[in-house]
Every structure is written in structure tokens, then in C-alpha cells.
């Protein structure tokens, strides 16, 4: 806390304005919901604004999102025009008052056209290690107007003429999603969803998005189930800027078929329920095909749960293979890892404990707050060693 106060003092007089595309749903809103009040409490003048956009705009930005992850998308001239038209309206209507303007992800990226004598940061929360060239080129022309950029993992960095910083997201250990829960609360949530704890539970908590590969998780579970009687929970909510969620949920349900041991839950925005489901699980998986950071991994590790996850995005920053979890590259690899953990509870417990320590030292909100404040200070200094 002393460090945080020291930093906040150095930012006296500055106003930080965060801008993103949704106040609810997804990791960015979750981070800002925590970060903004805490920065204010530390005395850093901070505000959070959300751009406006209709269904068409978010269809386009979802295509951008997929294309930036390397997925083939049909993106035509009309799509770029829809993006620019909505961007122009936001540029016109949204007041820019920050000394430091912090733009999150591609949706509000064009707001940089309003840059004057203030400092602008572009924070990329997604995996852009192998982006579609045309979409990247389109965004690049905005990115280079920023003073600095931020990425969640080293592999996301690109060749840019502006400074790039590595800041991983974080969890709030005292939030509803991560705090300790009494057993009766956990039991209550399981009961609500008709889940009986009579066999091990394997869980993935994520939005229903193809890049999280919920169908792949079902395949993995089926391979495990041949040898170990267990059950699978696939649980996630929606986000207001993700229009594909409903389709993916249907695909997932179809693949699950009539297996009574597969529980597919579309959760309301309820962090206690997510917390409870994670705490009730024997093993937690994150079999993402692409991932920005994968906050759910930190959540699981914080709860000392053994994790099986993909070598994707920021996940290897959180899971050191065979030390604080198991990493996999395929459905077969994931299934093998899950079987290992279910068959070796002592090993699983050890991985979970190490994971907890790793998150405690590196991925809590206090570290994230520090990084952001240092980032703000770096806007005014170009040296490698800065005396404050």
C-alpha cells in the first residue's frame, strides 16, 4: 500500500480517463469496475466512459476481434465504413477531458483523432500475435498516433514505432469472484444447477466463444470419462459486445447431447456463482484456442485448484508447466493431464498450492494498480532508470 500511495502522490493533478466499449461482461469491464474506484481511493483522479455502438458496429468489431486472433473473416469496405461512422459519432459526442486517455481494445481506437496536448495509451487485451494483415493495417494507422501501447503477453508485441509495455491483468482477491466462501454457499449454488458432488467435477468457466473451444472441452471430457467417472461443467455469461455467444452456446449444447454429467450453464452476471463453481471443482480447465490473458486461470489458481490449460496467450505466464499447473496443446494432451490430476490428488494439490503462491506474488490487483500508475508516470519520462 505504501508503494501505491507513493505513486499516487506523483500523479497528483492528473486526470486519467478510461474508455472502453462495455460497462458489463468480459474481462475489461471486470478490471475497470475494480480499478477505477481503487485509483480514486488512492487519490488519482480517474473516470470511465463507454462509447456507444449499435448491433452493426459490434458485429463488425467482433469480426475484427476474430480476425486479430488469426481467424478468417469476411470483412469488406462496408464493415470498415460502419466502424468509422460509429467512431465519428463517438468522436463528436464523447468529451475528452483526461490528461491521460486510456483506450481499451480496438472498439474505441479511433478516439485518438481527438488527441491534443494530452497523453494517450492504447491497451490491447487480446492476442494479436498472428493478426489478419488487413485488419492490423487498418488499426495500425490509429495505433501509431498513441504515445504508448500495452499488451498482456510478450508474444503479442508487434513492431511498432511507439513504446510498448507488458502489463498482465489481475484478480481482486477480495471480490465476490475470489473471496472465501462458506461451504453452504457453494452447496447452494450446486443445488441450484442440479449438480451433485458424487463424482469429480471438471470445469471450464468462459464466455461461449469458439476461441474458448467449449466443444473441444467436451471432447476432452469424453476421453477422460472412458476411464474415470466424472462430470463436466461448462459455465459462462454473455457480454454486451459479443453477438456470437448465442450461436456458440447452441453448438455446445448440441455436442453435449443427452449426457446427464455435462452441465452447460449460461450464468447471469453473478460472481458468487462463478466463485462457488470454481471452488466446487476438482480440476479446472482453460482450453482456449486463443486467449488474451485468461483471467479465469488466475481465479482458479488463486483458489489453489489444479489447472489444465492451453499454451495460449497469457496462460503460460500464469501456469508454469508441471510446477503450478499443466499445459497442453491438444484435446488428447488435455485429457491425459486431467486424468493424471484426477488419479493423483496429492500431485494435484501440490500444483494448486504452487499456483496460489504464484498468483499471490504476481497477479493480484495491487500489482496491476502499481503497473498502471507506473505506466502513467512513464509517459513523462523516457529513461530506463527514473528517479522520482
Amino acid at each position: 500500500m505504501d508503494d501505491l500511495r507513493l505513486l499516487a502522490q506523483r500523479l497528483e493533478g492528473k486526470t486519467v480517463q478510461h474508455i472502453n466499449s462495455t460497462a458489463m461482461g468480459g474481462g475489461v469491464a471486470e478490471i475497470l469496475n475494480r480499478m477505477v474506484p481503487l485509483l480514486k481511493e488512492l487519490g488519482v483522479n480517474t473516470a470511465w466512459d463507454v462509447i456507444k455502438g449499435g448491433a452493426q458496429f459490434f458485429e463488425v468489431t467482433k469480426k475484427f476481434h476474430n480476425a486479430l486472433h488469426g481467424k478468417k473473416e469476411e470483412i469488406g469496405k462496408d464493415d470498415y465504413e460502419i466502424f468509422m461512422e460509429t467512431s465519428r459519432k463517438n468522436i463528436e459526442e464523447l468529451n475528452i477531458y483526461g490528461d491521460i486517455v486510456f483506450i481499451h481494445d480496438p472498439q474505441p481506437i479511433a478516439m485518438v483523432e481527438k488527441k491534443h496536448d494530452n497523453k494517450w495509451i492504447w491497451r490491447c487485451h487480446i492476442d494479436v500475435s498472428a493478426p489478419d494483415k488487413a485488419v492490423w493495417k487498418f488499426l495500425y494507422d490509429f495505433i501509431i498516433k498513441y504515445d504508448s501501447s500495452v499488451f498482456s503477453a510478450p508474444s503479442f508485441s508487434r513492431e511498432l514505432p511507439i513504446r510498448q509495455f507488458l502489463i498482465s491483468p489481475s484478480i481482486d482477491p477480495l471480490s465476490d469472484k475470489n473471496k472465501e466462501l462458506p461451504p453452504d454457499v457453494v452447496d447452494g449454488v450446486l443445488e441450484k444447477y442440479g449438480i451433485v458432488q458424487d463424482k469429480p467435477i471438471v470445469t471450464q468457466i468462459s464466455r461461449f466463444d469458439r476461441l474458448k473451444d467449449p466443444v473441444g472441452v467436451i471432447e476432452m471430457y469424453k476421453k477422460v470419462k472412458k476411464y474415470i467417472d466424472c462430470q463436466l461443467i461448462l459455465a459462462g455469461g454473455g457480454a454486451t459486445d459479443d453477438p456470437e455467444g448465442v450461436k456458440v452456446l447452441e453448438e455446445t449444447k448440441e455436442r453435449a447431447g443427452k449426457d446427464p454429467d455435462i452441465h452447460i450453464l449460461l450464468l447471469p452476471q453473478n460472481d458468487i456463482e462463478v466463485n462457488a463453481l470454481q471452488r466446487a471443482s476438482t480440476v479446472i480447465v482453460q482450453k482456449s484456442i486463443k486467449e488474451g490473458f485468461g483471467l479465469t486461470v488466475s481465479e482458479a489458481l488463486w483458489k489453489a485448484k489444479p489447472v489444465v490449460a492451453s499454451y495460449a496467450g497469457g496462460i503460460p505466464l500464469q501456469v508454469t508447466h508441471k510446477y503450478s499447473g499443466l499445459l497442453c496443446r491438444s484435446i488428447d494432451g488435455g485429457a491425459f493431464a486431467v486424468k493424471q490430476l484426477l488419479n493423483s490428488p496429492a500431485y494435484a494439490e501440490k500444483l494448486g498450492r504452487n499456483g496460489h503462491e504464484h498468483i499471490k506474488n504476481n497477479f493480484l490487483l495491487t500489482r496491476h494498480l502499481k503497473n498502471y500508475m507506473l505506466l502513467f508516470l512513464s509517459l513523462y519520462h523516457s529513461e530506463d532508470m527514473i528517479y522520482l
Partner: protein, 225 residues
């Protein structure tokens, strides 16, 4: 028995702390040859980052792989022999980053001369080595010690970042030749023995907390506590 008189320092010791940010350079390496080329040319702040990051990130592990280069050549390239050579580099013997860089370069160069099979080996896609710089922000703290008793009291309580700054960063990055604690104990208290004993510690084979405990024990013993 009379109380042992505590010697006052000529200059008080002001504790600092250091916070850091990681800056991505956009530079990467997929093979040993590329790693070597990049290590020769990247800023010193990169060499510092990749040889000291583990210390801060894995405070609870002892000991951890001392540097990213060693870890990467073993894990991503499978060159375990070279990994061990790089991990064994006695960082404490170097008083500046330029010399440390030169040692890393010569170790890899010699290895490539001896091991032709290593030349063609590449890391899988997505497991390349990414060069990162450490940007350090140094702050003075309110804690000031005028003698060893005050010094050890503060040492027991300050953050790991502060110990890290005075033991590692001041010595190597600021080219002070020795750690801050030894320097102060010798020059302001005239206690060369204690200064030398602390300087002899190899901090790279301790966790920060182990290092703190060791330092506290050494100073308390000196104070007769």
C-alpha cells in the same frame, strides 16, 4: 554490564525502493544464432531484465533458474548443456552489465563452435524468446538509519523491492561496485568485516526473504543482539 555503545554513522543510510515496468522491444529470437545476435545489440536494460526477472517473480521458490536465457535455451531449444552453462554464470562476480553481457555472448559463441547440431535448432512457433527491458522507478523512503540497530530494525520491515534495489540493482545497474548496504557499513560505520561478509553473500542463490533473514542475522550478531 554496561550496554554496548552503538556507533553512529558518518552519513545516515536512506532506504530507497524500486518499482519496475516491463517494456516490450518487439525484438525476438527463434534460434541460438538469433539469440546471440540480439544479445549483442539490445539495450543493457534488456540484459538486466532477463537476468534478474526470476528473482522478483518467484520470491517463494529457491532457487529458481537465474536467468531467462538459460531457461529458454533448455526449455524451448532443448539445449540443456548450454542452459546449464548459462545458469551457472556467476553474476555476482560482474560489477556492470556490459561485462555480464560479454560473458553470456562468449558462452553462447563457444557453445555454437563446439555444437554444430545446435546451429539449426529453432523454437516452436509461439515459443520464441521476446526481449524485454526493465524500466526502474526509484523512490526514496522515509526510513533512515543512523546506526546498525536502526538499520536492522528497518531491514526487518521494509519491502522486498527495497532489499532488491539495494542488493541487486544498485550494485549492477548503477555500477556502484558493491551493494549499498556493504558500501554504507564500510564507509559510514567503518566496519569493513561486516561489509565484506555481506558483500560475500551470493544473493542470486537466495530468495529475497531468505536474503533478508540472513542479513538481519548477520547484523544482529554484529550488534551483539
Amino acid at each position: 554490564m554496561a550496554e554496548k555503545e552503538i556507533k553512529k554513522a558518518i552519513q545516515p543510510f536512506r532506504f530507497y525502493t524500486r518499482l519496475h515496468l516491463s517494456e516490450l522491444t518487439g525484438l525476438r529470437a527463434a534460434s541460438l544464432a538469433e539469440l546471440l545476435e540480439r544479445i549483442r545489440e539490445v539495450p543493457e536494460a534488456c540484459i538486466y531484465h532477463h537476468t534478474h526477472r526470476f528473482l522478483q517473480q518467484h520470491l517463494y521458490l529457491s532457487p529458481e533458474p537465474p536467468n531467462d536465457f538459460a531457461y529458454w535455451v533448455s526449455e524451448a531449444l532443448g539445449e540443456d548443456d548450454l542452459g546449464e552453462m548459462l545458469a551457472s554464470i556467476d553474476t555476482i562476480q560482474f560489477s556492470n552489465i556490459a561485462d555480464l553481457r560479454e560473458k553470456i555472448v562468449s558462452t553462447i559463441e563457444d557453445y555454437l563452435q563446439e555444437s554444430k547440431s545446435a546451429v539449426g535448432r529453432s523454437a516452436r512457433h509461439g515459443e520464441e524468446f521476446y526481449f524485454i527491458k526493465s524500466i526502474s522507478f526509484v523512490f526514496p523512503l522515509q526510513h533512515v538509519a543512523n546506526d546498525l540497530a536502526e538499520f536492522v530494525g528497518i531491514l526487518e520491515a521494509i519491502s522486498a523491492d527495497s532489499i532488491y534495489f539495494h542488493m541487486f540493482e544498485a550494485r549492477l545497474r548503477l555500477k556502484r561496485g558493491t551493494n549499498d548496504f556493504s558500501y554504507w557499513i564500510e564507509t559510514s560505520l567503518g566496519d569493513k568485516k561486516l561489509a565484506d561478509d555481506i558483500a560475500k553473500l551470493d544473493p542470486y542463490t537466495h530468495t529475497i526473504e531468505d536474503l533478508r533473514n540472513k542479513l538481519v542475522r548477520m547484523v544482529k550478531k554484529r550488534c551483539g543482539a
